[in-house]
Subunit: 583 residues, 2 copies
């Protein structure tokens, strides 16, 4: 039991010197990658730079204790930071203590929700988000985030939470562009884009091994950070209007409680739920992908617990919502991380950075951080997915497009809510019309097949229907409609046999539909039968009234039913293949 | 096309003298039943008495033109009236012109929504309501309605929209009880309850035929109305504090437009949608039940159009939301109505009543109408359904109990919304964990069965999995979890064969899950295969990338797959039954 909730007790036992070395190397690479990212995502969330650092210490330690993924790297990520900015911006003005307090409360609330869902084993809630919706949402968020950073790249002050607002805000402030800022932005963005593809060959040409070169590429943002800090400091650019990060408090975060304010928590409940679900879906996807590559297992419910603990610890140490980052986890995995201990070592690295490097960050231009964000999030945008999805399923593509458009024009919360609603609507629509077949007997056999697809023989007085799905409320009415329709269309019918090999479940709605069908058919002189009902379904049916009132019978096989209800027919078609019956 | 939207063109052709006589008899009975009901439900909705009469004229005529059910009787009903009171009460004070205007706007909006859903063929939206939720909601509404009428039975003025509010309101006004009102209430309630069971034997003893006696029982409310009017008038009881209906405008409704006020419509949109869906579910249930008894068909989408038209016409003639009434339709059916023309004749009857009888209604005590309501709605309350549902499905029973409790304590809108949410949650939870089986070969055959239930032979390097459900987003993650779990647990596995005879559909989420599984398994040295993919599913899959990247193959039968991937095994188990292979 304790081992289930503390996976460290399992993997910690086999910890060796070799594992330690592998984890340490991965931790160093991830720390170098995480320093600029944690600052940048704090900026994106509208929070002071140190909040990003704080959110990269305690949560990583807690995930080491609770997490089941060997390679997942938690911390601030782009989409959750955007969602934080959107939620907290509704409540307080950026830069105020209330804004910071609300962000901390959001992390606390989200952590509590994730923890509760994990303990109640509610991981299935992540199923509410279909892939097209989450993909559309991430693409739209990427576009929104990139657009929101343009102001930092130009050195102007503009606002807006939707794409039209952001763009019109920029247009209104175009005259205020700060030239030195733009130069830094062009350098940083250009270098970062180039480094993605151009840096690796350069390193390899100098004798760096390909695998190491691929990892070093990921540390390029730190190079941009160092260069622009030095340039800004040397040329005194902050006096020429280049906005810098400024004074960052030196030292570790002080443990503290989030503001306990019921009204605030009420306002934050919905955003916290959405951040939790989106963050969990992202986390679980990357964790599962990386685990499967090495034939390892993760426990989705325990991941909820771990992510919940990480967020609670983030809140208690003055941080904001965190989640498992995709790019960061892949780097951790590629760098050879073998256990969650790599996360703990990264946390130590981040703590050292918070203690020692913060004075150096004073001259870090915000434009550099914005460039880091833009280059990182543009990889999230995948509009080609619309075309690919469309060619497979136009309905799913429509859900994706609506999610993108609503997110861009009405903001992240409305966007993800609309997407969830659409996913469920589409699912219910599809569930409400299951595949079914009117069956006839394949001549000379005991088999029955769809009369539309096979040459079969039908018994005039018997309607054989096979529904290829479990029976539950979305298709309960469909079931009634279908049976009544066939019976009304053919006055010869005296028996309806529902063939149930594909029915894994009958819920109360479908049970009542069957009871109604049975009663109505009785009044109309028709008997309802069931055939090939599965064991678990039958176990439940005997607890209901259906079987006592059933006009017909429950048959073990469909052939048994037809043999009894239309003996001439089955004998005749079987006669065509006497050798079979002789067996 | 025209015939589809105007079913009268079909049944009108075969209209005979005999049909006319049958419809006329039914119309007379229904009219006598409808007069007190229409007045009572207007009272329940907090509207003037004549609004109930207006809502029983035009909607019935329009349904005759558009409806596909031969026996459905539309008009004001209890639950929709309660929902109207709840929605409109949020916007204006009872008795004001704004209150009436909002009720009319609600009927208009609901009619427009129903019509749009019908034209777009969105009848599946009714599937959102599972039977346990609708049953719980109707029971709770019945209790709320009965409780809300107690004040009229006692002659006190009290308010409240939730059960605790209503009861505490009554307690606060208990001293104001009006004795003559209570006497009338006791007589009316007692007589109506007695008439349900006691009147039929009395009539039969006097030589009335059983069928006619059963119908005459339904006209008992009119007797109560006449007796209490005469008593109130003769004794001048209204001067002793008995509240009466008072002056009701004589004459037919004047066509008019509902108030066009965007803010008002915005406030009414959600209630209108809920009333539409609840009303439609009630309508379609009773229409389908009655049609099936005579092997007739109804068209669920056209019923949306008809109900939409009926509500629009109600609004345009100064009425409030209407729907198909259960008791009334059953009486119509039992009285022999053969076509929707019976509804048109009922409308004529109601128009005559509006023209001629309204002066007589002046002395009608409100307590009599309240008694009619209480006796009618208590038949809606079926708390025994909780126990029955629990024994079949505790989950569904929980959804029912929550719907009842939320409706009683937080009102009808919150109640039905919570119910819908719970239904969907339960459905997604069930969809998210489909039944699946690891299969082995039945020795000596080409058949494969669940290894847990049958004595089968497994191939050590091949994992055979059959998922007994369509693959879509609620179970996409389950699919990944399951496959990864089995592969991680058994290092010998080199092939995974997904057996798909039960898969009717693969949505984009499940497709991407399969692509991810394929890629991850490839990295781990395992090949993914598919077997027995259905035709329509295969047609879609060829439009995706899955098949090009598939590590394994797509096999026509599962036996083909195993013959190729584990030839020793299949040969060996087949060898045990050489006579079979010799066939």
């Amino acid at each position: 039991m304790i081992k289930r909730y503390f996976p460290i007790l399992t993997w910690g036992r086999d910890y060796t010197r070799a594992t330690l070395e592998a984890d340490l190397v991965a931790a160093i690479i991830v720390t170098i990658m995480l320093i600029p990212q944690s600052l940048a995502y704090a900026l994106l969330a509208g929070l002071p730079a140190e909040v990003g650092l704080y959110a990269s210490i305690a949560p990583l330690l807690i995930y080491t204790l609770l997490g089941t993924s060997r390679a997942l790297a938690v911390g601030p990520v782009a989409v959750a930071s955007l969602m934080t900015a959107a939620a907290v911006g509704e409540i307080a003005a950026k830069g105020t203590p209330e804004y910071l307090g609300a962000a901390i409360a959001l992390a606390f609330l989200s952590g509590a929700m994730l923890l509760a869902m994990g303990l109640l084993r509610l991981g299935f809630i992540a199923s509410f988000l279909s892939h097209p919706v989450i993909s559309g949402f991430i693409s739209a968020s990427g576009i929104l985030i990139a657009a929101s950073q343009i102001k930092h790249l130009l050195g102007v002050s503009a606002g807006g939470k939707t794409l039209p607002d952001i763009l019109s805000g920029l247009a209104a402030h175009l005259t205020e562009i700060n030239l030195p800022t733009v130069v830094i932005a062009i350098f940083a963005t250009g270098f970062l884009f180039w480094s993605r593809k151009g840096l690796k060959p350069v390193l390899e040409a100098r004798g760096v091994k390909p695998r190491l070169a691929a990892l070093l590429v990921r540390t390029a943002p730190v190079v941009a950070v160092i260069v622009t800090i030095v340039v800004t400091w040397a040329l005194g650019l902050q006096e020429h209007g280049v906005k810098v990060v400024g004074a960052v408090p030196q030292g570790l975060p002080v443990p503290s409680l989030p503001p306990f304010d019921l009204a605030l928590w009420g306002q934050l409940a919905m955003p916290a739920l959405l951040i939790s679900i989106v963050g969990y879906v992202e986390t679980i996807s990357v964790a599962q992908t990386l685990a499967a590559k090495r034939r390892q297992r993760i426990d989705p419910d325990q991941e909820l617990v771990a992510l919940g603990g990480a967020n609670l610890s983030s809140a208690l140490s003055g941080g904001f919502p965190v989640t498992g980052g995709f790019a960061r986890s892949v780097v951790n995995f590629d760098a050879g991380a073998e256990t969650p201990a790599a996360g703990a070592f990264t946390a130590i690295g981040m703590a050292l950075a918070t203690l020692l490097l913060t004075p150096a960050l004073y001259y870090l231009p915000q434009a550099t951080l914005a460039a880091t964000i833009v280059v990182a999030v543009l990889t999230l945008v995948d509009l080609g997915a619309i075309r690919r999805t469309f060619s497979y399923s136009p309905g799913d593509a429509a859900a994706m497009v609506v999610t993108i458009l609503v997110t861009l024009t009405m903001g992240v919360e409305t966007g993800i809510s609309a997407g969830v609603g659409l996913s469920i609507l589409l699912h219910l629509w599809r569930s409400s019309r299951p595949h079914y077949a009117v069956m006839g007997q394949v001549p000379g056999t005991e088999h029955f097949r769809n009369e539309r697809r096979h040459r079969v023989v039908l018994a005039p007085e018997v309607l054989s229907i096979r529904v290829d799905e479990s029976l539950w409320f979305p298709n309960a009415r469909f079931l009634e409609d279908t049976i009544y329709g066939h019976v009304a269309a053919d006055p010869a019918i005296r028996h309806v046999v529902l063939n149930c090999p594909a029915v894994n479940f009958i819920d109360t709605s479908a049970l009542e539909a069957l009871e109604a069908v049975n009663a109505q058919l009785k009044d109309a002189g028709v008997r309802l039968h069931l055939s090939e009902v599965k064991g678990p379904v039958m176990d439940r049916l005997v607890r209901s009234d259906l079987l006592t009132h059933l006009g017909g019978q429950v048959w073990l096989t469909h052939f048994d039913a037809l043999s009894a209800l239309a003996p001439e027919l089955t004998r005749e078609t079987l006669g065509q293949a006497r050798c079979e019956t002789a067996r």
